[in-house]
Subunit: 274 residues, 2 copies
């Protein structure tokens, strides 16, 4: 499994579309089957999990109990493909560039549209993505090493257990960004203001204290350099709910393909506390 | 030199006075010549520096340039002993339990009233004190080791230089509180909201990175235990301006005696950002 929302850091100088709506329309027409990093950079992007209604209540409780790894931006009505709180005419059957279809916990295909797979019992969950807080960190002048090095962020399974709900349980997955102590302190302040996109870090300093045996060998993504005088800083990661759902092996499930996110009309700045 | 504002942690279950005003009145009458820790615990206490007007502008600029170690709560008019923004009938000539008088950078006496020493060119500076944020940390359930161990907080000279102004310059002094990474992250969030009392930490983790050679040997205060899995977390300390002023050796200066603070009518909660 790779990152839920950052395949290759790639923020173009000019957004490819005039608005999030325009981007979604192009995606719907099949004109953009690429990852969404850097598209409509002021807008929040979301991780998608679609489950049958009979599992939806358990998953909703799981998200409520684990808000740092599972920050819920929206939950649909059963069978309703529209997510009006996320933006103009958002139709989850068409508006993600690439979907993954899972049966009994195994990925069976990748598709660019799920209208033909739609069922009246499907419930869509949109979860906040760390793209949003990474923009805030970069805007604050904090170097993100994986961006500088052109790599995927480093992610690790931890000994921190999520709070279970129904069939959903498992370890928290975290992403790691190395930085100086001064920047770590600023990053805590900046990301604490965006609980809808993972919020403040869950750990910093000694990786062994959260069950990470070798910081040089991430479980997902790429290793990044930690320079002398830097601390590793760990945030709850959107890979957590994906891993938890797959481990529960639902008979049917649809997610976005890693990096191919739903672009919402919500501004990253709207997600920040006052 | 000892701590500017914490001689012996000692928070009684019941405040000794009904209000900060009552406490100041008792101090003015000479009925309370003891340290003020735990007196009117909901109220902010202040570090006092009184300087001749000819140095006051430089010191004001020094505080403006170094807000973390020198958070200014109030500055008086020259010769005016009243500080109306800090509380009802605050008269700086009487309302501190114990003062220190300095000439040419050397402490020459300790007195309980400075009316006889008053001059028309004296300017009073009141600086925020970490008592206020320590209450917020304790209220949040974060153990403060020096409180648990009944010690003074550990303080260290660092390699972090203050920004100079006129004759005022020198290294930042920091206080250190050990805690788990999870509590350190919460403590950053809590103390970032109180910039008037030192604000967010200036460092955490490796002490050597800020020039502290031996964490077991503080320059001021007492050493405290750092347990396995804990990080040292460092805040700018009110000892900094005291050390800077004494190093500048002004011909005349009055400060509070360490731990014998001005109790203001400001509530600690009033100092927090919304």
């Amino acid at each position: 499994m790779s990152s839920s929302c950052r395949p290759v850091p790639d923020v173009p100088d000019q957004p490819a579309f005039a608005s999030a709506y325009e981007a979604r329309q192009a995606i719907r027409r099949g004109e953009w089957v690429r990852h969404t990093s850097g598209l409509a950079p002021r807008n929040a992007q979301g991780n998608l999990v679609i489950l049958p209604e009979k599992l939806a209540t358990d998953f909703l409780r799981f998200c409520q109990r684990n808000p740092k790894p599972c920050p819920l931006l929206a939950v649909s009505e059963p069978g309703d493909p529209f997510l009006p709180t996320l933006g103009r005419d958002v139709n989850i059957r068409h508006d993600v560039p690439l979907y993954r279809v899972w049966r009994d916990g195994r990925m069976v295909e990748e598709v660019t549209d799920i209208a033909s797979l739609w069922r009246p019992d499907l419930v869509s969950f949109l979860l906040g993505c760390s793209f949003s807080f990474e923009h805030a960190l970069i805007d604050a002048g904090i170097e993100l090493r994986h961006v500088t090095q052109g790599r995927n962020v480093a992610m690790y399974r931890t000994s921190i257990q999520t709070v279970p709900a129904g069939p959903f349980h498992g370890p928290m997955v975290v992403s790691m960004r190395p930085m100086t102590a001064a920047n770590a302190i600023r990053a805590v302040q900046i990301t604490a203001r965006v609980p809808a996109v993972h919020g403040a870090p869950v750990h910093l300093g000694d990786p062994a204290l959260i069950g990470i045996a070798d910081i040089g060998k991430p479980d997902f993504g790429d290793p990044v350099d930690i320079l002398p005088g830097e601390l590793p800083v760990f945030w709850a990661c959107g890979v957590t709910p994906q891993a938890v759902v797959m481990a529960a092996a639902p008979e049917f499930c649809i997610t976005h393909a890693p990096g191919y996110m739903l672009i919402t009309d919500l501004l990253n700045s709207d997600l920040a506390l006052a």
